[in-house]
C-alpha cells in the first residue's frame, strides 16, 4: 500500500510541478496519469504492485466527491435561480454526447472493419 501511495503521489507531484512550471491548463493529476501510464509501458511489473491499493481507491471513488458535493450548500442561490435551465442543458447535452460517441464509434468501426485482424 505505501509504495503504491508513494508512486501515485510522486506522479501527481511531477505532474503538478510540470503543469504549473509550464503554465499548462491541464490539471497536474492528469499529467500524473499520463506519466504513470508511461511508467507502466516501460516497467510493466509495477502493475502488480499497484493493483490491490488502486482497486480499493477506485472502488471508493464516490467517497472522494462528497466534500466537493457538500459545497452545493454554498451554491444554492445559483441552483435555485437556474435549476430549470441547468437540468435541460444536462439532459440534452448528455444525450447528445452519447449519440455522438455511439454514432461515431459504429461508423468508424464499419469503415475499418475489413482491416481489423
Amino acid at each position: 500500500m505505501l509504495p503504491t501511495l508513494a508512486l501515485l503521489l510522486t506522479c501527481q507531484l511531477i505532474g503538478e510541478v510540470a503543469a504549473r512550471g509550464l503554465g499548462l491548463p491541464i490539471p497536474g493529476p492528469v499529467l500524473g496519469l499520463a506519466l504513470l501510464l508511461a511508467a507502466l509501458t516501460v516497467r510493466p511489473f509495477i502493475a502488480q504492485t499497484l493493483r490491490p491499493t488502486v482497486h480499493v481507491i477506485l472502488a471508493h471513488l464516490s467517497l472522494m466527491f462528497v466534500p466537493a458535493g457538500v459545497g452545493v450548500i454554498g451554491n444554492l442561490d445559483v441552483l435555485s435561480e437556474d435549476w430549470a435551465a441547468l437540468l435541460v442543458i444536462l439532459v440534452a447535452s448528455t444525450l447528445l454526447a452519447m449519440l455522438a460517441a455511439v454514432g461515431t464509434f459504429l461508423a468508424v468501426r464499419r469503415l475499418t472493419e475489413g482491416r481489423e485482424p
Binding site: 477506485l58 462528497v66 459545497g71 444536462l90 439532459v91 454526447a97 449519440l99 455522438a100 459504429l106 468501426r109
Partner: protein
C-alpha cells in the same frame, strides 16, 4: 459555559468531527444503495450530500469549517486520478483492437459533451462562472474539479453538475440505446462512460461486462482529453 457547549466548541474546532461525519455518511449511503441493488438514481454521493448538508445548516457550521475536516478526503482525488492509469493499462489490448473507433468516438463525444453544454448555457443566458463550471461536467469528478478551477469556474458547483450528469447518463443510456436498436456492447459502453464518467461506467458494468470495460476506457481517455479541449473550447465558444 455548560459541558455540552464546551464539548461542541472543542469538536467544531477540530477536523476530526467533519472528517468522521463524511466517512460515516458515505458508508451509510453506500450500504443503502447496495441494499437497493445500486439503482442509478440512488447515488451514494448524492445521498451523502443530502445527509451532511442539513446537519451543517442546522448546526450553523460554515462550509469552510466543514472543509477543514473533509479536505483530507478531498485530497485523495489527486492520487485517484493518477490511479486511473491502471485500468487503461489493463485494457490496452482491447484499446489496440479498436483504436480507430475509440479515438474518433472519443473526440466527437468529448467535443459534443462540452460544446453543446456551453452553447446551450449561452442561449439560456447563464452567467460566465456557471458556463465555465458546466464545461467539464462529463468527465470524472477529480479531473472536472481541476479543469473548472483552472478555467475560472466554481469547483463545488462543477461537483454537483458532474454528479447529476452521471445520474442522467446512467438512467437514460439503456432506454436510448434500446430505442435506437444499437446492439454493439462496445459502442454502448463507450458512449455512457464518455458522457457519464464513473457513474455511467458503474451502470454499464451492471448491464454487460464488455460494455463496462469499454465504459471504463472511455472515462479514463475522456479525463485526458477533456482537460485539454475544454480550456480551448471555452476560449472559442465564449
Amino acid at each position: 459555559m455548560t459541558g455540552v457547549e464546551s464539548l461542541w466548541s472543542y469538536l467544531s474546532a477540530t477536523p476530526l468531527l467533519w472528517l468522521t461525519a463524511t466517512l460515516l455518511a458515505y458508508l451509510l449511503s453506500d450500504r443503502a444503495a447496495r441494499s437497493l441493488g445500486y439503482p442509478p438514481w440512488a447515488n451514494p454521493v448524492l445521498i451523502s450530500v443530502l445527509l451532511i448538508a442539513p446537519v451543517l445548516w442546522l448546526s450553523g457550521t460554515t462550509y469552510d469549517t466543514y472543509f477543514d475536516g473533509a479536505q483530507f478526503i478531498h485530497f485523495l482525488l489527486g492520487p485517484a486520478t493518477v490511479a486511473l492509469a491502471l485500468p487503461l493499462w489493463d485494457n490496452r489490448e482491447m484499446i489496440r483492437r479498436s483504436v480507430a473507433p475509440i479515438l474518433f468516438a472519443l473526440l466527437a463525444g468529448s467535443v459534443v459533451a462540452a460544446g453543446s453544454a456551453i452553447l446551450m448555457a449561452r442561449v439560456f443566458g447563464l452567467s460566465a462562472e456557471v458556463i465555465l463550471s458546466l464545461g467539464p461536467k462529463s468527465t470524472t469528478a477529480p479531473v472536472a474539479l481541476g479543469v473548472s478551477e483552472a478555467i475560472g469556474g466554481i469547483p463545488t458547483l462543477t461537483a454537483v453538475l458532474v454528479i447529476l450528469t452521471g445520474i442522467i447518463g446512467a438512467v437514460t443510456v439503456t432506454p436510448l440505446m434500446t430505442l435506437l436498436r444499437i446492439r454493439d456492447w462496445r459502442a454502448r459502453g463507450f458512449a455512457v462512460g464518455l458522457a457519464a464518467h464513473g457513474i455511467g461506467t458503474a451502470r454499464a458494468f451492471q448491464v454487460n461486462e464488455v460494455a463496462g470495460a469499454y465504459a471504463g476506457i472511455a472515462m479514463a481517455l475522456n479525463a485526458l482529453l477533456t482537460s485539454m479541449i475544454v480550456p480551448a473550447l471555452v476560449r472559442w465558444l465564449m
